[in-house]
Symmetry: C2
Subunit: 311 residues, 2 copies
C-alpha cells in the first residue's frame, strides 16, 4: 500500500466472559474486520465498498459504525483531508463477537496511522465508542477496549469507565462456534433481568473477582470454577438453540469454561492446549450438524496487540 | 501454661471490604479474642469464666459461639475428654469486627492443639462456622475464614464456599474506629435491598474484580478507586451516626479507602504508611469527640497468621 492508503485489521472480541457482564472482554487473533482507508482529492468522507456483509450494512456515513467513528475524529481534530473507506467484514453481523467494535477500531486506528496523527490508543477509544454507539445504542467498551488495546480487559466504574489490562496465562486457547442465528444486541438486552436477587449478586461478584484472580495467578482450576454466570447466561441461553448441548460438548472435550460470547449467539470456550481447543471445536461441529445449524468456528489465543497494519 | 491447658488468641477481621459484600474479609493483628481451654477430670464441656463482655454472653454451652464450635468438634471426633472454657472478649460485641468469629476460631484452634488432633485448618472451618451460626444465624465465612487462615480472603461459590487467600501489598495499614453503638447483625441484614438494579450490579462486580486485581498487583491507586460499594454501604450507612463525617475524615487524612467493617458500626480505612494510619485514627477521634460518641480505635496491618498460642 502507498502512503495514500492503509489497510488495517482489528480483532474480534469475546465480551461478558461468564460472570463479567459488561465489565470483561478479550481480543481474538481470528476473526477480525479489515478497513482500507484512502486519501481522496475530493473533500469529505465516503464509503466506497463493503464486502462480506451480505448487503446489510449502510453506505450512509452517519449510520455506519466505521464511518461514524472516523467522523467523530474528523470533528474532534478538524481534519480536512478527503477520505474514502472500504470495509471488509470477516465475521457475521450480530455474531456476538464484537463485529461493529472491530470495524470502528480498525477505522480509527487506520486514520491515526494514515494521517500520522500520533494519538495514543486511549485517545482513539472515545471515537471508536462513538462508532460502536451507532450499532448498539450504548457506550459499552467491553468489545471496543479489547479490540483496541488487545489482551484481556476489565472495565471498572460507571460514568468514566476505567480500562484495566489483566495479566493472563500464557497458554489459553479460545474455541468459538458462531451458530448462524440472528440475535440483535438490543433484543438480547431485553432478555436481561432488570432487578437481581442479592444472593445472586453475591455469587456473581465472587465469581467475577475469583476469575480475575485465577487469570492473574495462572490458576486454571480457579478460572474453571469461577467462569460461571448466574445472572445473564440463564436469561440469554434461551435465545440460542442448542446452547446446553454446545456447552456440554465443550466440557466433555476438556474445556476450562464455556459461556455465551457477548450477547450471543456465538459461544466461546477456554482450554489450555491447542489440541483441546480443536477437540472442542469438533464437538461443537457435531452438535451443530445434529441440530442442522449453519455455523462458523474459530480457534484463537488471546490477541495481545489489538489492531495491526496489513500489507 | 501446662499441657493441661492452652491459651489462644484469634484475630478480629474486617469483612465485606467495600464492594466485597459477603465475599471478602481480612484479619487484623489487633484486636482479637482469647480463649483458655482446660482439660478437666469431670466429663463434658463447661464455660467457667467470661471476661470483657459486660455480662452479655451466655454461659449456656448450647448458646455461646465458642462452646458451640467446640461441641461441634466433640461430636464429630467423638471426644470424651472433659473440658472447660474461659473466654476473654477483647472487643465490643456486635462491633462489626467479627468478634463471634474470633471466639469460635480461637476455640476450635485451641481444642485442636490441646488434644493434639493434628487437624489441618480447613477441617476446623466447619466447626468454627457452627459456632458463628449460633451468633449470626447464617453460615457466612467472611469473618471466620480470615480469622482462621489469616490474610485477605476471597470467598467464591454458593453452596460449598471456596476460600481463596489473596496476595496483598506488603504495606497496607488498617485504621479502625468502633463507635460504641449497638447494631445487631440481623438488623443490619434487614437494611439490605433484596433486589438490585442490573446497572449497580455491573458497577459492583467491576469494583470487586478490580479491587482484587489492585491488591494482587500492588496498585494502590486502583485499590483506592475500586474500594467503592454502591449496594450495601448506602443502605447501612444510615445506621451509623456520623458515618459521612468519619469517611470524609479518613480521606482528608490520606486514606486509600474507607467503608463499613462487616455490618458495622465499626468503620475501617486503608492506607499505605503507619503515619497515615495514625493520622486517620486521629481524624476519626476528632469526629467522635465532636459528636460525643464513645469509641475505641485500632491500627493494624493485615494479620497473616490467624490464631496463635499465647504463653
Amino acid at each position: 500500500m502507498s502512503s495514500n492508503s492503509i489497510k488495517v485489521f482489528a480483532p474480534a472480541s469475546v465480551s461478558n466472559v461468564g460472570p463479567g457482564f459488561d465489565i470483561m472482554g478479550f481480543a481474538l487473533n481470528n476473526p477480525g474486520d479489515e478497513i482500507i482507508l484512502r486519501k481522496t482529492n475530493k473533500q469529505g468522507l465516503k464509503i466506497t465498498k463493503i464486502t462480506g456483509d451480505k448487503n446489510r450494512l449502510p453506505y450512509n456515513i452517519n449510520k455506519n459504525t466505521a464511518s461514524v467513528a472516523v467522523l467523530s475524529m474528523i470533528n474532534k481534530y478538524k481534519i480536512s483531508q478527503g477520505l474514502s473507506i472500504q470495509i471488509n467484514k470477516k465475521m457475521g453481523l450480530g455474531s456476538g463477537l464484537g463485529s461493529s467494535a472491530a470495524s470502528a477500531v480498525a477505522a480509527v486506528y487506520a486514520l491515526n496511522k494514515l494521517l500520522d496523527l500520533k494519538l495514543p490508543k486511549y485517545k482513539l477509544l472515545p471515537h471508536a465508542l462513538d462508532g460502536e454507539y451507532c450499532a448498539c445504542k450504548s457506550y459499552h467498551s467491553d468489545n471496543v477496549a479489547p479490540s483496541l488495546f488487545g489482551g484481556f480487559i476489565l472495565i471498572r466504574g460507571n460514568e468514566t469507565p476505567e480500562i484495566i489490562k489483566i495479566k493472563t496465562p500464557p497458554n489459553l486457547f479460545c474455541s468459538i462456534i458462531y451458530p448462524d442465528i440472528f440475535i440483535k444486541t438490543e433484543e438480547a438486552r431485553k432478555m436481561l433481568p432488570s432487578k437481581i436477587n442479592l444472593k445472586k449478586v453475591v455469587v456473581q461478584t465472587g465469581n467475577a473477582a475469583a476469575l480475575i484472580y485465577g487469570l492473574t495467578t495462572n490458576n486454571k482450576e480457579l478460572i474453571s470454577r469461577s467462569l460461571q454466570d448466574v445472572i445473564v447466561e440463564p436469561a440469554r441461553a434461551k435465545l440460542i438453540h442448542g446452547f446446553k448441548d454446545f456447552k456440554k460438548a465443550a466440557y466433555d472435550n476438556g474445556a476450562i469454561g464455556c459461556s455465551i460470547s457477548g450477547s450471543g449467539p456465538s459461544i466461546f470456550s477456554l482450554s489450555d492446549t491447542e489440541v483441546t481447543a480443536k477437540k472442542i471445536v469438533k464437538g461443537f461441529k457435531i452438535i451443530a450438524d445434529k441440530l442442522n445449524i449453519k455455523n462458523s468456528v474459530y480457534i484463537s489465543k488471546i490477541n495481545k496487540q489489538g489492531p495491526k497494519i496489513l500489507d
